[in-house]
Subunit: 357 residues, 2 copies
Amino acid sequence: MAEEKVVRFGILGCAGIATKLARAVGMTSNSSVYAVASRSIDKAKAFVSANNLPPEVKTYGSYEQLLDDLCVDVVYIPLPTSLHLEWALKAAHKKKHILVEKPPALCVEDLDTIIEACNNNGVQFMDGTMWMHHPRTPQMKTFLQNPDLFGDVHLVNCTLTFAGSSKFFEEDIRLKPDLDALGALGDAGWYCIRAILWANDYEMPRSVIAHPGPVLNEGGVITSCGATLSWKDGRVATFHCSFHSCLTMDLSIHGSKGNLNLYDFAIPYEENTASFFTSTNTNFRDTAWGPKPSEHRVTAEFPQETLMVQEFARVVKGIQDSGGKPDSQWPSISRKTQIVMNAVKTSIQEGLISVTL
Amino acid sequence: MAEEKVVRFGILGCAGIATKLARAVGMTSNSSVYAVASRSIDKAKAFVSANNLPPEVKTYGSYEQLLDDLCVDVVYIPLPTSLHLEWALKAAHKKKHILVEKPPALCVEDLDTIIEACNNNGVQFMDGTMWMHHPRTPQMKTFLQNPDLFGDVHLVNCTLTFAGSSKFFEEDIRLKPDLDALGALGDAGWYCIRAILWANDYEMPRSVIAHPGPVLNEGGVITSCGATLSWKDGRVATFHCSFHSCLTMDLSIHGSKGNLNLYDFAIPYEENTASFFTSTNTNFRDTAWGPKPSEHRVTAEFPQETLMVQEFARVVKGIQDSGGKPDSQWPSISRKTQIVMNAVKTSIQEGLISVTL
């Protein structure tokens, strides 16, 4: 029997996060790193060597050359956000499937242009929200969807913060207005907004209002902010994202009959196991209350980024083999996340107004 | 040696929570239940018997009679909030020290009138926020005040909800506009606001804005709401209180260097031990992050309401024995909590405006 053809990844740029992706691809059985491009061929070669990629991996000294390589199936785009539009469009036009780091675009219009190009060229679009692919995620959803154990969603709180070093604040692209103008909102805030939408089955909030006290650097890039989202039936969600506070990844979801809490929602404390905590019908007793939340440990055969690559390669292979259409769910949830994120930015820019969606 | 005189409590009204207080007093060494009053003498007698109080406990068929008893040192007021002003003033004028259930008043003006009467009559005022007296509380404060372990407060999130039964919604005084017009805000929200102020060393927020989607019953009583508080240096806090969601008592406090989380802040899961979780300088590692939060278990010699009564009796005894002035800290933090609570109510009433304090 012939060996099954694997999906060939081309990595566009050698950003730090590309290291994680290269490792992830190497751990899958249905994909391989086929080529790496940087603006300098030396950087591309150094990336291949530093990441112990096989010597046959192609290296290119320009992004265009990688896109011109007919053997590349998928392009992974870890470039600064301001470059996503240009390179995602070029990749789509070259019929490359696109896995793009979050945030996928600076604004909803740019993302729509990218998604349209993907649809027109029959290629898959997915953003790099890795935690979506952890086996914990569907297990938590099963709990949330259980009318007896959880009931209806009433409230979601999500906090994703880390304390950047002085080097981070001086050098990181997430602080540069011409590179990643969305700052902490596009980075940490993206995950929070996605988690909130995920908890609400991607039903869009009716309004978004930023919290007072957003912090912006001298270039106008958000380094800390938060917002309250609300739905027309009274559901509420709040989030806070920051580059200034101790590392936190809390997500709590409160329902009519149950609660779900976890403290490492975006990146599990450990690669191969992750926990979440649930409680159901807790109640007051004579002198105390309970029961206490119970812990659910989930084993992950592979790190979540590996599972993301595997899933993306599976979807791409399905399109290649059957000539089918791209899956519309992934671009749809990217777009919803982007809409909410940009509404938060608008609220901040316009003096903390309530933005109606 | 003569037996030390204990502080004699008079209980004004036989509400459910008075049972807890009567038990608490019985567990202290420096106080006793001396008298119980109800609007009917039979109810007062039934309360004494149902709570296994000593037969020598006096019973009165009117609140006035209890206040006229010169042997009563302290009056505990578990009456509906709308009656607090009248009975707290009458008690203060009779030189009784006052322990009043939260919320202490319907509005700041009423509370100021009560506190002024207490000061003018040289009697102590304290509200019944029991968790303040749990030994966990100062231990958590020690963590928050440590510049190396926690740093500066950036964000507080607090959620206190429970799912009321249909009987609760029909009968409970917290649903009646003429009795407890502040509803979930005055009950569950009071604890959240106090926790937020406590975490911020009682520094008042600059602004308060209610979240969209507050739920009010047909009488206009709030049954679910939330708000965002903000300080002029950018600190933010959010809370959510509700009678409609599964029992939750989450408090998370995020700082520049550390985090503090607990899940039973207002009433510990168990009476004699309680935990909180801290993390400090957590960071990303190669393929994961950590360390995970560490649990701190605190042993409580007595239930928190017993410790509250003991503390109140200690303060009262100090005033009685030395002729000193009442402690101004307790009324001060009640007042701050009341101001924020009423600002939330104003924000809701005025269409979710931002209320500047």
